[in-house]
């Protein structure tokens, strides 16, 4: 496969969330606001891309029987680095995301890409594949977070965007949007749109 195709594939017909249904839990957990969704998206992209490259470099030396353990060690190391960086430079968001950064280790997208792609391909394609999958995951998170924060809190990235006039006319924020079930429904709507468009 060409590199461009490798990069773009996850955005449409092979999207990790809307097609493969991977990484749904984190998509539900962190998208009630746009900011954590953004940080989570970037973190996952970094983790997938880096661990893809590392595993791809090691692919000829890893014994098949213990490959899962090796993968986990690599992913855990990268996640720890990301977590420390977030704590140092974006403490508030890191507190909001709490365990979910640590739980990237168990994100199916990461393990899936390592198993399916990095173990059988060279470092450069692996890097591109990791970036593509991470960013396409991030995009779904951003769209979900955008809808949920806009309708649920009337703000975007913490800044109020719904004009006060509207509240005076009787508009109210939709409290259901902040609750986890609505994330499921928003993601379902994205899947719906995508399926309808692809037909």
């Amino acid at each position: 496969m060409k590199n461009k195709e490798l990069f773009l594939n996850p955005f449409s017909k092979n999207n990790p969330i809307t097609v493969q249904m991977l990484g749904i839990c984190s998509a539900l957990a962190v998208t009630s606001k746009l900011e954590p969704a953004l940080v989570m998206g970037i973190s996952v992209t970094v983790v997938v891309a880096l661990s893809n490259v590392i595993i791809s470099l090691l692919r000829n030396t890893i014994p098949t029987r213990i490959r899962i353990i090796v993968q986990l060690v690599v992913v855990a190391a990268v996640v720890t680095v990301v977590n420390e960086i977030l704590k140092a430079y974006a403490y508030d968001v890191s507190k909001q995301l709490s365990v979910f950064i640590g739980l990237i280790i168990t994100n199916c997208i990461v393990m899936g890409r390592l198993e399916v792609f990095a173990l059988a391909n060279k470092p450069l394609p692996s890097l591109i594949d990791g970036l593509g999958n991470g960013l396409s995951y991030a995009i779904i998170l951003l769209v979900t977070g955008f809808v949920r924060e806009l309708l649920g809190s009337g703000s975007l990235l913490g800044y109020q965007v719904v004009p006060n006039k509207l509240y005076e006319w009787g508009y109210e924020n939709n409290g259901l949007m902040i609750l986890p079930p609505m994330a499921l429904i928003v993601v379902a709507c994205i899947i719906w749109l995508q399926k309808a468009r692809q037909k």
Binding site: G170, Y171, E172, N174, G175, L176, M177, L179, I185
Partner: protein, 385 residues
């Protein structure tokens, strides 16, 4: 009637295949079959028997059964309004005020719901399904009187799309659409759905009525301070208490129940077991009696809030309750039990009936499965002996 039939026959070719308006066939078909029972018969070499009371007729009867509740609800809404502003008025004035308050809600709920149903039927090329006839009536009856109209519109749209259409339309929904609309409002806009200010309308409607609440008047429903200062039983039975439009008068609900039972649309098994479950649970809590809510007499629980309304009009929904006879007993009993449990143990959710019915709706297929499996096992045993 005859004139209507002739008119429909006259414009029918326009909507049939090849006609000018053939693309609106589903709309025409929907209206025609709503007005007249289809007289289409099977061909000579086909066998085809069906009862004349199709689901459009069944839905119309449910709507008729709801009318006493609706009318009394309008009157009570007006009476509560004039009592709250300290200017008691006659029953006619009260009814007119209630009409002005409820009619816009009905228009919005039917407009949005039927609009989506017609659009989807048109888009998919289906026949128009009639399920919304009842839901559209139920939604205004079960929300607080002060719910803003746009919220009713949003909730109706949500429930029709996500509770009904995505599952395949009328007859395929897992949950009761009207209750989903109410649950949506309850979780999305809690400030407009509970508390003291939402149950009695004080603003003027179309320039009619309106005024300041007199001092010391509390608009809370008796349900929200369960156990303390309940109104007398006659008021609760007749419905002269604040509450959602349709739920207050148990007498009107009783009339509706009689209509539904006489026509065989609702199941007496479900109704009976809901009340049995509710009474039994409330009685058991009475025995414990650890706090005021637990000491509420069982009869008072049945007469308060939406319990009776839910038992008669919501729990008996043939689509979302179990099909099997024994399953109906289990389903109803658990609805009644859960409703009282939620009311007493979770003060944050005073209306336990809504959540109880929705929760049991999800289990209806499982209950049916267990009943059928139980039958199979029993008969298998008989063979082996």
């Amino acid at each position: 009637m005859k004139f209507l039939r002739q008119y429909l026959d006259k414009i029918k070719p326009t909507f049939s295949a090849g006609g000018k308006m053939a693309m609106f066939h589903s709309v025409f078909e929907g209206i025609e079959s709503f007005l007249f029972v289809s007289n289409a018969t099977a061909g000579a070499d086909e066998t085809h028997i069906h009862a004349s009371h199709d689901s459009k007729r069944a839905m119309s009867i449910v709507v008729i059964a709801l009318i006493p509740c609706l009318l009394f609800g309008m009157f009570n809404l007006g009476a509560q309004h004039f009592a709250a502003i300290g200017a008691p008025a006659g029953w006619l004035k009260a009814l007119v005020y209630g009409l002005f308050a409820v009619l816009p809600m009905l228009v919005v709920s039917y407009g949005v719901g039927l609009g989506i149903e017609f659009a989807v039927a048109q888009w998919k090329g289906h026949e128009i399904q009639e399920g919304f006839l009842v839901s559209g009536m139920l939604i205004p009856l079960i929300v607080p009187v002060n719910t803003p109209l746009w919220m009713i519109g949003v909730a109706t749209a949500f429930s029709v799309v996500f509770c009904k259409e995505v599952f395949g339309g009328t007859g395929f929904n897992i949950w009761n659409p009207a209750l989903i609309a109410r649950a949506f409002l309850f979780f999305a806009y809690p400030s407009k759905m509970s508390g003291e200010a939402v149950w009695i309308s004080t603003e003027s409607r179309f320039g009619y009525g309106g005024g300041q609440v007199v001092d010391g008047f509390s608009g809370a429903t008796p349900l929200s301070h369960l156990g303390s200062d309940a109104p007398n039983y006659l008021d609760m039975f007749l419905g002269f208490i604040p509450g959602s439009v349709g739920e207050t008068s148990k007498l009107c609900i009783f009339i509706g129940a009689l209509i539904l039972l006489a026509t065989g649309i609702a199941s007496w098994r479900t109704m009976l077991s809901v009340f049995a479950g509710g009474l039994l649970t409330a009685w058991l809590f009475n025995l414990i009696g650890a706090n005021v809510a637990m000491q509420t007499p069982p009869l008072q629980h049945i007469l308060l809030g939406g319990f009776a309304f839910g038992a008669v009009f919501m729990a008996t929904d043939p689509v979302t309750s179990p099909r099997s006879r024994n399953g109906k007993y289990v389903f109803g009993f658990l609805v009644g039990t859960l409703a009282i449990l939620i009311r007493i143990l979770n003060p944050g959710y005073p209306e336990g009936m809504m959540l109880a019915i929705l929760l049991m709706n999800s289990f209806a297929p499982l209950i049916d499965h267990c009943v059928v499996q139980n039958n199979i096992n029993r008969r298998l045993k008989r063979i082996k002996q």
